[in-house]
Structure formats: C-alpha cells, structure tokens
C-alpha cells in the first residue's frame, strides 16, 4: 500500500471520527442527523474498501450472501412479473396486435378513451362496485370479528364456517348463487312470490339491469368477509385486555368501549383492510363474468367492468395498445386511492 493511500485513509478516518462524535453528542434536527448517519455509512464503506485493497470487501461479501437469499424468488419475480409490467407500460403508447409491426401512438390511445361508451360504462360500474363493496365488506368483517372474538360456544366452528365462502372456488360458488337467485325458479324469488306476494312480473332480475351491480356487491361481501374477518381478528387479539378493564371501571358501555378503545386501536388494521379491499375490488373480473355473463359470456353496459374490457380489447379484438391504456387508467386509480389512503392514515396517526 502506497503512502499516499495510507494518508488518504487516515484523512477519511478522521472525518469519520468527527462525524461520529457529532452524532454522539446529539443533533437537534432529525434531517441533519439522518444526513450525518448516511455519510458515516458511506465513509465506512470507502475506508474498508480501500483497506482491503483488491480483495473482496466485507460489504461486497455481505451483499453477495444477501442476494443469494433473494435470488430464487427475485429472478422468477423479475422475469415473470416485472418485465411484463414494463412492457405493459410501453404498450399503452403503441399500437400492436401481437403479431404485426408496432406503431407509435403517443397519447392517441388515451384520447380515444374519452369517446368510448363501453369504457365509460365499465369505468362507472367499477367505481360503483368498489364504493359499495369496500365499506360493506369492512363493516361486515369487523362486526363478525368482534362477535367471534368473544367467548362464545362453538367459536371455532363459526370461524371455520365464515371462512368457507373464501375457500370455495368461484366456479362452484357462483353456480350455486345463480341457482339460489334464479329469476323464475330460484328459492329466493320463490319466497318473494309465495310469502311476500310479489307479482310474477315484478320479481327481481338479480343478474341484469339495475340490480346486477347490487348482486355483485352482495356476492363479494359474502365471499370475502371471512378473509378480512381473520385479519381483524388478529388485530383484535393485539389489543390489551387492560384497556377494556380500565374502560369498565370508568363505566363505559359496549358502544363507548368500541368507539374509544377498539376502533382507535384497530386503526392500522382498518387501513390495511381498506387498502387491500380497494385493490382487490378494482380487479373484479371473474365474479362479473360468471354471475352476469350472457349467452356468449358478454357483459352488457350495465354490468361491464374495467378488467373485462381490458381482457376483451386484448384477447378478442387484439388491440393491445388500447387495452394497455385502459389498464393504465385502472392502475392510476388504484395508485391514487392507495396514496390518498396512505396520506389520510399518516395525517390521523400523527
């Protein structure tokens, strides 16, 4: 090692010591402190690199070990998810049918959206579906979790039962729902007809027209509340019992305990549930097709949803660029909603 290098190392070392001393003595400004810490890390790395010379540095070795942990998953993830996503982004600005030459479209794909009635219908329906499903599922699963967190007989059975709809396959479960809600033969309409004397021509058409979105929402709540119930249950178990005891001593009733203990304590759980619910709701596709699909599996303007339109444009019309543009709209909404929720969460927790 040359003398020049040693001198350089010594100089860096002294800089490092200075910084460490500064941090140890305490820095008022948090930002400043962070800055110093990251500089320390950087200096430490440079020094160790220079010291070890041509040999692999310790940092490098540590990185290699870490990457060996990540690699099996990350390679698969990068190849099968990340790369296609990058392509999907690019596609939104192109015109391509999957075979012929690619044409650049600029923003034309996005401009087309404005005058597309099917897109507008799909957009509207998706929003209505989400606005209906997210709060309903959240309330239902929270209520269920609170009930099943009490000491009740057969709790395990009830918990298992409420998880059944989530576990059951969509193909199987939707075909049962279609039987139960069959407009002229199903038991639900039979009861309406025989017990509540609803005239035959007034019987609800559950899977078309104005009711179809309601059916989709009810079905989703039924199918997924068990799943979110488990998450809430986990959240509830994290609340210390002492809080409730203190509440009881203060004479709080059930509602007050919920309002002032349970609900605030579950804030981060609720945040997680709402984010996951929103993301999953915007992805709705198979439920709509399986419950409301017509003779050729087609959805009408009262039941079409964004992902259905993405699928249709891509795999039926082979307008991949346009399909990707719709997909980007979907992604943008999901992102926006998530960011808003994050911001809100942060604001209320500060």
């Amino acid at each position: 090692m040359s003398e020049k290098k040693i001198a350089e190392i010594n100089m860096l070392q002294s800089q490092l010591d200075e910084l460490i001393a500064k941090v140890c003595s305490g820095i008022e400004d948090k930002k400043e402190e962070k800055k110093c810490l990251s500089r320390i890390e950087k200096l430490r790395r440079t020094i160790s690199k220079m010291r070890s010379g041509s040999k692999l540095s310790r940092d490098f070795k540590r990185d290699i070990i870490s990457y060996s942990f990540i690699a099996p998953n990350f390679i698969g993830f990068a190849v099968f998810t990340l790369i296609p996503i990058v392509f999907a982004f690019a596609l939104a600005f192109l015109k391509w049918d999957g075979s012929n030459a690619i044409e650049f479209m600029g923003l034309k794909n996005f401009k087309r959206l404005g005058s597309d009635v099917f897109f507008k219908a799909a957009f509207k329906n998706t929003i209505i579906y989400c606005v209906g499903t997210v709060p309903l599922t959240m309330i239902a699963s929270l209520a269920l979790a609170i009930i099943l967190n009490q000491k009740v007989r057969g709790r395990a059975i009830f918990r298992t039962l409420s998880f059944f709809p989530y576990v059951g396959s969509l193909v199987a479960v939707t075909s049962v729902w279609k039987m139960l809600f069959h407009p002229s033969k199903g038991p639900i309409n039979s009861i309406l007809y025989h017990v509540f004397n609803v005239p035959l021509d007034k019987l609800p058409q559950w899977f078309s027209g104005g009711l179809v979105l309601l059916s989709l929402i009810l079905f989703s709540v039924w199918k997924y509340m068990g799943y979110y119930m488990v998450i809430y249950l986990a959240g509830l178990q994290g609340i210390s019992g002492e809080l409730y005891e203190a509440g009881s001593l203060d004479g709080a009733n059930t509602w007050q305990k919920f309002r002032y203990i349970t609900w605030p304590q579950l804030r981060s759980t609720t945040f997680f549930v709402v984010v996951m619910l929103t993301i999953n709701c915007f992805k709705v596709y198979d439920i709509a097709v399986m419950l409301a699909g017509g003779g050729s599996g087609e959805l009408t303007t009262s039941s079409t949803v964004l992902v259905y339109y993405i699928y249709q444009k891509a795999f039926v019309d082979w307008d991949l660029g346009y399909s990707s543009a719709v997909a980007m709209v979907l992604f943008a909404i999901v992102l926006l909603v998530t960011i808003v929720q994050f911001a809100y969460q942060k604001k209320t927790s500060d």
Binding site: A90, S99, N100, S208, E298, T301, W318
Partner: protein
C-alpha cells in the same frame, strides 16, 4: 426520431425474448420468413416423403364425431402423415386460438376457423397464409363452394377453405303438435304464420309449460331473421330492420311462448338441453344440430320419449321473400404462417375441404361445404334422420347469407352488437334504445 427509437427498442427487446425462447423450446425451430413464400412445386405430398406430423386445432373432440373420422380417413390414405389433434374447447375457441397464434411461436400447422370475426383477426395478425398460390397450382375449383368463399375473401386473397357449411333451419317436436292437434310447420311460412303457430301450441299452465318457440341466447337467433331479405347485413351500421324481430320475440317472451332470456342467461341453458327436454315445440338452429340429435338419440343421451319424434322445416321468411332463404355458417381450415410443413398442411386442408372429406362429413351427419347430391342423400338416408318428405325438402336452400361476412372491423362490431343484444333481451334497454346504441357504437368503430 425519438419515437421511432423507442418502438425499435421495444420490438428489439421483445424479439430478443422471442428468439431466445425459440431456441430453448425443444424441436420447434421454425423460420417465419421462409414460410411466406409457399413452395408450390412440391405441393402434392410425395408418397416417399419422410414422416410428417400435423398439429391441428379443433374443439369438443369427445362430442363431435367428424374430427376423429376425418383424421383417421386421411391417415389411412396418407401413410406418412400423423394428425395430432389438440382440443381447445368450444367456449372460447377463437380467443384461445388467436392467443396461440400471436407472435411466431405456435406449433400448430392446421387450424380450424370457427367464425368470421375470428377469421378476420387471424388474417389481420398474419397468423394464417393466403392459399391463392396453392389453389391455383392445384386447380381447386372454388365454384363448388357455391359462392361462400367470396364472402370471406380478403383483398382478393382467400385464407381458408370451408369444409363444413351449415345453414339455419327450424327444428320441431312432432309430439307436441300432435298433442295440441295443430298442423306441423311447413316449408313455406311467413313470420306471421310462424308466430301464430308458436302461440297455438303454447301452454302456460304452471308445471306443465309447453313453449311454442325457443331462442338461444346468441344474437344470431333473433337478429338475423332480419337479414334474410338479402337487403341488410350486420355490417350496415343501421339496424332498424332488427326492430320487428326483437318485438316479436319479446312479445312471445311476455306471453310465455318462449323461455325468458334472463332465465336462459342465468342458468346458461344450452339449446340442446332445451329442445331435448320435450317442452319446446320449435327451435331455430343451425343444421349441425341434426347430427347431434341423431347421435344422442341413438346412444340414449336424449330421452326419445321426449324428443325422439322430430322434424325440420325451412326457416320462416318475411312477406315477399322466397322460402328457403337462410343463414349460413361456414367452418374452414387454414394453414398457419408458422408451420414448417406448409405443403403437407395444405394437402390436408385440400383433402378435408374436397370431395373425400365431404363424404366423411356426410357420413357423420354433417353438411360438407361441397354439397353434392351424393352427400345430401347420405345425410337424408342416415338412420335417425326424420322420415317425412318435408324434412328432406327443408335441406334445399335458395339463398344463403353468411351470419357475418368479412370486414376489417368485424370483430369489434360483433362484440358491440353482442353486448347490446344482451341489453335489449334482458330489458335493460328498449328495442329502440338498444338499436340506437348499436348504431352509435358501430359508427364509432368505423370512424376510428
């Protein structure tokens, strides 16, 4: 410049993945560019040729008799060729096929074309080859296909040869008419007569309903009554001519003459299940259903006490239109661009669509695209084909209109009117609103 750079970069990246993929997929080396010029000099499959395996895309192998029959017969006469059938299922057949043929990585040599919108997609994607050079070299006489090949010719080129040509007829259940003491439908009925007849045999008593008519959920089953006068087509962009037929069917629905669309949609009822259930008097359906009826009655799948006594007549027609005008649906074969044995593939296509194939089709109760008198008499003399004269007579067609002719945007137009058909039939829109919406959507597609 930048734009171009981006698109070049993207396609380059895409190509790299494609190329590396091709190399790694075993035994699938193919050059897409070499395939574009057919080597016509070796079209006739040389008898000494080495072994060839043709991969052929089909649907519903189990329930459709002719696929296996065609393959067996061809293999028997062409010792060096093995036909490898891949069943893609009928529900999403054309979608699955188009996905399969995107890019250049497919292994299929011959594909079956189920409908025109799907055909249009494949032609536009350059997934299938123009057959003109082959047709010229082998002297295939297109006039034998009675004009339907014209309706699927794209810019002067033909990309498929039809081997099956179905047309729509009216199936009826004789027992229901006998029980009601009503005369059978005839080969020359106007729509008014047809409507009246359907109403006459209808019984609405709860639990013992008899439906005078049945319309499957496809839009073809209702809309295409309107094109039989030869003046309209679904590509028109103006759909006022659908109105009368929608009103007729919706009124029938209201009066319990036919099952409700919303019920059919909810249960996904297949038309065959409806007709074989014995409570449907008349069903408008394609002639392919003849083979289904014969086979399933013979093997006991359908209860012959419910639907064993059936017959067919010609499609009803509008006032002033010749009887025997009907809708046609062709099923064709095409050779993929990606195949490395285009000549062998073409030979198979030619054989299936030619007279030898026609015979096999007729023997399994199906209507070959080349309708010879011989094929016709094979079908009408099949065991299980209705014995009455009217049913035989019903098979003579005067005017045949394709359900959907070729057009550039046919796939999108098709999706749009499919969707509004659902809206009208389920009562989400009135007939007028639905038709107006169709016209607007199609206009937007055409102006795109």
């Amino acid at each position: 410049m930048r734009k171009k750079f981006l698109s070049v970069l993207l396609s380059a990246a895409m190509m790299t993945t494609l190329v590396t993929g091709c190399a790694s997929s075993s035994g699938n080396e193919q050059s897409t560019t070499a395939g574009k010029t057919p080597q016509t000099e070796t079209t006739t499959a040389a008898p000494t040729a080495e072994k060839v395996t043709l991969k052929w895309a089909i649907w519903d192998k189990e329930s459709t008799a002719y696929w296996q029959a065609l393959a067996d017969e061809y293999e028997a006469t062409h010792q060096n060729v093995t036909i490898d059938m891949v069943d893609l299922g009928s529900t999403d057949y054309m979608t699955v096929l188009a996905t399969e043929l995107s890019g250049s990585g497919t292994e299929f040599d011959v594909v079956t074309i189920k409908d025109v919108p799907g055909y249009a997609t494949l032609v536009q994607k350059n997934a299938i080859r123009p057959l003109d050079d082959y047709i010229k070299a082998d002297g295939v006489d297109l006039t034998k296909y009675s004009g339907v090949t014209d309706q699927v010719t794209v810019n002067g080129s033909l990309y498929e040869l039809p081997f099956r040509n179905d047309f729509w007829v009216l199936f009826y259940n004789k027992d229901i008419f006998d029980a009601a003491g009503v005369d059978y439908p005839t080969n020359d009925m106007t729509f008014e007569e047809y409507d009246a007849l359907a109403r006459k045999v209808t019984k609405t008593d709860f639990g013992n309903q008899v439906y005078g008519a049945h319309y499957h959920t496809w839009r073809s089953a209702v809309q295409l009554f309107g094109v039989l006068d030869g003046k309209h087509s679904i590509l028109d962009g103006e759909y006022g001519f659908f109105a009368d037929y929608y009103n007729m069917v919706l009124n029938q629905e209201k009066d319990g003459v036919c099952r409700k669309y919303t019920d059919l949609k909810t249960e996904g009822l297949h038309y065959s299940a409806a007709f074989s259930g014995g409570d449907v008097a008349m069903l408008n359906m394609g002639s392919w259903f003849i083979a289904t009826m014969i086979t399933n009655l013979a093997n006991g799948e359908y209860d012959s006490s419910l639907c064993g006594n059936w017959g067919i007549v010609k499609y009803p027609h509008a006032e002033g239109v010749e009887a025997g005008s009907t809708l046609g649906t062709i099923t064709g074969l095409a050779v993929t661009t990606a195949t490395d044995t285009p000549d062998a593939a073409w030979d198979f296509v030619k054989w299936v669509s030619g007279e030898e194939g026609a015979k096999v089709m007729a023997e399994t109760g199906n209507f070959p695209a080349i309708m010879t008198d011989e094929a016709m008499s094979i079908i009408t003399s099949l065991d299980g084909f209705p014995k009455d004269e009217a049913s035989k007579e019903a098979l003579t067609v005067s005017n045949l209109y394709l359900e959907v002719p070729y057009a550039e945007n046919v796939s999108e137009i098709n999706s749009a009117i499919d969707s509004y058909h659902g809206s009208i039939m389920s009562g989400e829109m009135t007939v007028e609103e639905g038709i107006a919406a169709m016209e607007e959507a199609v206009k937007a597609i055409k102006n795109k």
